[in-house]
Symmetry: C2
Subunit: 431 residues, 2 copies
């Protein structure tokens, strides 16, 4: 097999076999195929795409390039959830304890964030004492004991994907749906879960700007997962505005706790329960979708979900006392963003809100950067809300950096018009 | 300017500016743009092509990456000729002295061959004593004295093209007409000539397999040359069979001498005179095309062209006496290839004939290989000739290597059928 022939084969629009894709990824990971040949292959793929089988072979080859987690010693169906990335997305923090409180096995390895706000792991680290590093042995033990563990990525998961992603980033080959799908799925397939729900965000705050692209990506990821033997669901959710009200690490934990106590914002509860219902059914613990949703709402309202959250925090060394005074999660220094006109909120550019949070210190621009836990944005107004000149649009929890810049970004991000808009949150479900 | 943006711009089908192409080539030559970004750019160019302006900017940028020859101290119009590469193509050996005998300035730097047979320089080196290395100063002096010099490439001509070509070769981006055209023209534009005729070969023995591709390439090269201020002509000539009868370094010098003495094969004379007529007109020494051809035929028939050839050989240190006994150019060991059936020759696969010559030692597979000067093939039959079983199709001039393999290749290359075919040699002229 010659790499030049494989580049030419893709360039000419032919389908690559599993053997060929395996050869490509194995030898690229070993450094036997140089970057300059792989980048030519990637650009050929940009133009000629990949079909579902090729994308699956690619995801499997990248999965097999590194460590995989074996969860077979946990009885029952293990579930996982992935979001393609949105602003204010704290669903995992709520969904995990919520599902575990109903008997679902939630064994989650999560990443740190790169971009507007931290990842799930950064958010959990804003809880004093919470340990994100567990050995695989202790991770499995904890899931067997309390039904849930949320830890940082351990081991070398899909190194081929890391190497390939870095190359795509500098060769204008990021926006290729089969490559995006394979990249996400290589890591999901390494995680050992049996059932996976993908939350594919769509809108100006998301990676996929149009519903058409988002559907393609979602369908392909579902197909890859299914070809690899997983129970798969994807939902398309709007990212026309941030999810919930709070953006920033500690602020999102705060809002997650509120939600676990049955006082969450409508959109956040809606998405969490929707995803939860699919996973409850895939776990075999419920058959009817409406009944599943009802049980999830109950667990949020009767304190069971919150109790499980406290169990999780305790098991991982976190300070539960600190959570009772959860105001300590927020910086004492606040600044208000004031509305300059009357009308309805018609749009909140989530990407700009994310950037504002990053300016305040909530996110990372580079991998090495530290994040601040207690800074962020509390959006008081969302799309469809009536506003008056002088209203407080948002409260910023700040330390010293980026305050003016964040204010400008937020004012710029929030559009006010004369017509009340109502956007559907869940656009599509792909099974 | 960011290279990723330039890759994306080409990927998305936009036209690059001269500044952008200059930036790309300058920084690639310096090693500031890595191969992996350039190969992504090349693959994007494979799909999105380049227009005439972009290809011209690319040729100019590659020309400017290295040494250029200044021929301004030679009075009058300096001419050059380039062939995209055919089997048995010894036109330069005849054309140079022929034109010089009529007062045209023929200052030619030529390359060594890689492939079936040697290049012009390898062919000239089969003349005992012929020196292919001259300083630029002496090169110019000789052209001023006798109107002609044919030497090897000196200096570092278009290093960007060398680097880019090596990368294209391993990334499946060779077959891109604007890149082929820019590559050829970058070197032609560095050569200092004022008028250039391009002989674009078409057919199974040539790089361009179809007339449509060959026309595109020819038109683009003519356009690039003209945008760079040169007088340009391209002719499309068939490479459905080798040019002339003899293939191999010394054998081709032998046939060139025969042609310079007015005894050349019809096809070889036809192409040489056609190219010569364009250059005679471009030199301002003749206005009428038919009259130009007549003068060229005369110079072949009255010994003037051969006299100029002897002057050239003498000036460059070659042994003229050896040429008088030109049988010494050929190996004394010969083998005959015998016809196995009656009929007409309908096809001679030039590529296979070229490979046969290479097996005998006439060409190089790798840059470092030596070539043998006295081996090769003398094809007695050409397309349209009637043959009988037992006829000698070809005489091989051999040393020890590749004899059986060459015989097989030649028998395989020559098709014999029942219908007499007559193919036009010069397919198109592009001014």
């Amino acid at each position: 097999m010659h790499i030049v022939d494989l580049i030419a084969k893709k360039r000419d629009g032919f389908e690559l076999t599993q053997k060929e894709i395996k050869y490509l990824i194995e030898n690229y990971t070993k450094g036997l195929i140089p970057d300059y040949q792989m980048s030519a292959f990637l650009m050929a793929t940009y133009f000629q795409k990949m079909n579902d089988e090729e994308a699956t072979y690619l995801a499997l080859a990248m999965r097999d390039s590194g460590d995989t987690i074996d969860l077979s010693s946990i009885p029952g169906v293990k579930v996982d959830k992935h979001s393609t990335g949105g602003v204010g997305d704290k669903v995992t923090l709520i969904l995990g304890p919520l599902l575990a409180s109903l008997g679902v096995k939630f064994a989650k390895m999560s990443g740190r964030g790169l971009g507007h706000t931290g990842g799930t792991i950064d958010k959990l680290e804003s809880i004093p004492g919470y340990q994100v590093e567990l050995s695989v042995e202790n991770f499995i033990k904890q899931v067997n004991q309390i039904g849930i563990a949320i830890v940082g990525q351990s081991g070398d998961v899909a190194p081929a994907d890391k190497k390939l992603y870095a190359l795509r980033d500098v060769t204008a080959t990021v926006d290729v749906i089969p490559l995006i799908a394979s990249s996400i799925m290589s890591k999901k397939l390494a995680s050992g879960a049996d059932a996976i729900v993908l939350d594919v965000k769509v809108g100006h705050g998301a990676f996929m700007k149009t519903e058409e692209e988002a559907v393609k990506l979602a369908e392909l990821m579902v197909s890859i997962g299914r070809l690899a033997g997983k129970k798969m669901t994807a939902i398309l959710t709007g990212m026309d505005e941030p999810l919930g009200h709070k953006i920033g690490n500690g602020l999102e934990v705060y809002e997650a706790i509120e939600t676990l106590l049955g006082r969450g914002p409508e959109d956040l509860v809606h998405v969490t329960v929707e995803i939860g219902a699919h996973l409850l059914i895939d776990s075999g613990l419920e058959k009817d979708f409406e009944q599943a949703k009802k049980r999830l709402h109950e667990a949020l309202n009767n304190g069971k979900a919150y109790q499980k959250f406290l169990e999780l925090v305790t098991a991982q060394g976190g300070d539960v006392k600190a959570l009772e005074k959860k105001e300590t999660l927020l910086s004492p220094h606040t600044v208000e963003v004031i509305c300059e006109q009357d009308g309805y909120v018609t749009d909140i550019n989530a990407l700009d809100i994310g950037k504002a949070a990053m300016r305040l210190g909530a996110g990372r621009e580079k991998k090495e950067d530290d994040v601040l836990f207690d800074v962020g944005i509390d959006l008081h107004k969302k799309i469809g809300h009536a506003v008056k000149k002088g209203d407080v649009l948002a409260t910023l929890y700040v330390q010293k950096q980026g305050i003016d810049e964040a204010k400008q970004l937020i004012l710029h991000a929030i559009s006010i018009g004369s017509v009340k808009k109502d956007l559907p949150l869940i656009r599509k479900t792909i099974k």
